[in-house]
């Protein structure tokens, strides 16, 4: 690990983590709502500020992280600041950080068991654009009626996967979309209409 190339993490680890966690809570409980998550002092290259903040807030030495190839260089940074364990197999990951340009087969991530649906992966996908008000129509728990959000970089395969993921309930993965400082939650209960 080359320390000289590592950027700084949260400038106030406790307060910044709490603030980010609060934002993540808001994003998951109000799917489709676009929230702001402030980033660390120095964000590594190729990573969305909000994705980086989320990883710093959620990871610790008891969690595992899978990175998509484009984001692999961030591994050292996140390991230094959180102590998380990096894994090469999707199935071993508690958390995953990936870029929409290289979406893997999401079926490979852990979706928990009926007894322990919480033992599923939380997947952070960084996307090129994220904007509330138009685009996909989301509905389900936490949404009054329906809400629209435009999420860039998603392809047919993702929507097919999401249909399978919803059918697994109570099992299934939860997703965060990240773009710049913005964050939007997609819990396993949310229905997407393209």
């Amino acid at each position: 690990m080359n320390l000289a190339r590592l950027g700084a993490g949260f400038s106030s680890p406790v307060l910044d983590s709490q603030r980010t966690f609060r934002g993540a809570l808001e994003a998951l409980s109000r799917p489709g709502r676009v929230v702001t998550a402030g980033g660390p002092a120095e964000v590594p290259r190729n990573v969305a500020e909000s994705a980086c903040a989320l990883a710093l807030a959620l990871l610790d030495q008891d969690t595992t992280l899978w990175l998509s190839p484009l984001l692999a260089p961030v591994g050292g940074y996140l390991r230094f600041h959180t102590g998380c364990r990096l894994v090469s197999q999707e199935a071993e990951a508690d958390f995953a950080l990936l870029d929409s340009a290289e979406l893997p087969s999401l079926d490979l991530f852990r979706c928990g068991s009926d007894e322990y649906p919480d033992r599923s992966a939380t997947v952070i996908v960084q996307v090129p654009t994220l904007e509330a008000g138009s685009g996909l129509r989301l509905s389900g728990p936490g949404i009054r009626g329906s809400v629209r959000v435009a999420i860039g970089g998603l392809h047919e395969a993702f929507f097919l996967y999401w249909g399978r993921n919803r059918a697994l309930f109570p099992r299934g993965i939860d997703v965060f979309f990240a773009c710049g400082p913005l964050l939007c939650g997609l819990p396993r209960t949310t229905r997407i209409e393209v």
């Binding site: 320390l3 700084a8 993490g9 400038s11 106030s12 680890p13 002092a41 600041h81």
Partner: protein, 128 residues
Amino acid sequence: MLEAWAARQAQAPFTWLRPPESGLVMVRARAGGTGAKFNLGEMTVTRCALRLNDGVIGVAYVAGRSHRKAELAALVDASAQMPGMGERIERELLEPLRVRLEAEAARMQRKAQATRVDFFTLAREAGA
């Protein structure tokens, strides 16, 4: 002693890579002293990492919960990597620190040595 040294230095501007944070490390030992590893118990430790404005990194891991001590240790670590500074720090700080710690250790050692005994076995040796 660290404080006194720091007070004599020009305040080097730096940014925190990782601000001081207190936590635990699990102390490991070995069964029977040399056998299988086991976890004895934890100890508190404070760590931090900083970057001087010219890019040099200083890292510290210090037993206990003093943030200030960790900060100073990381500053010393970073300063020692600056050209020409290593020797000065060795001479002005590390060597005197070592001398003080060794003097204290030697004092304890002498007190322990004063309680050194030679036991004599009586009956058995005489009667054997």
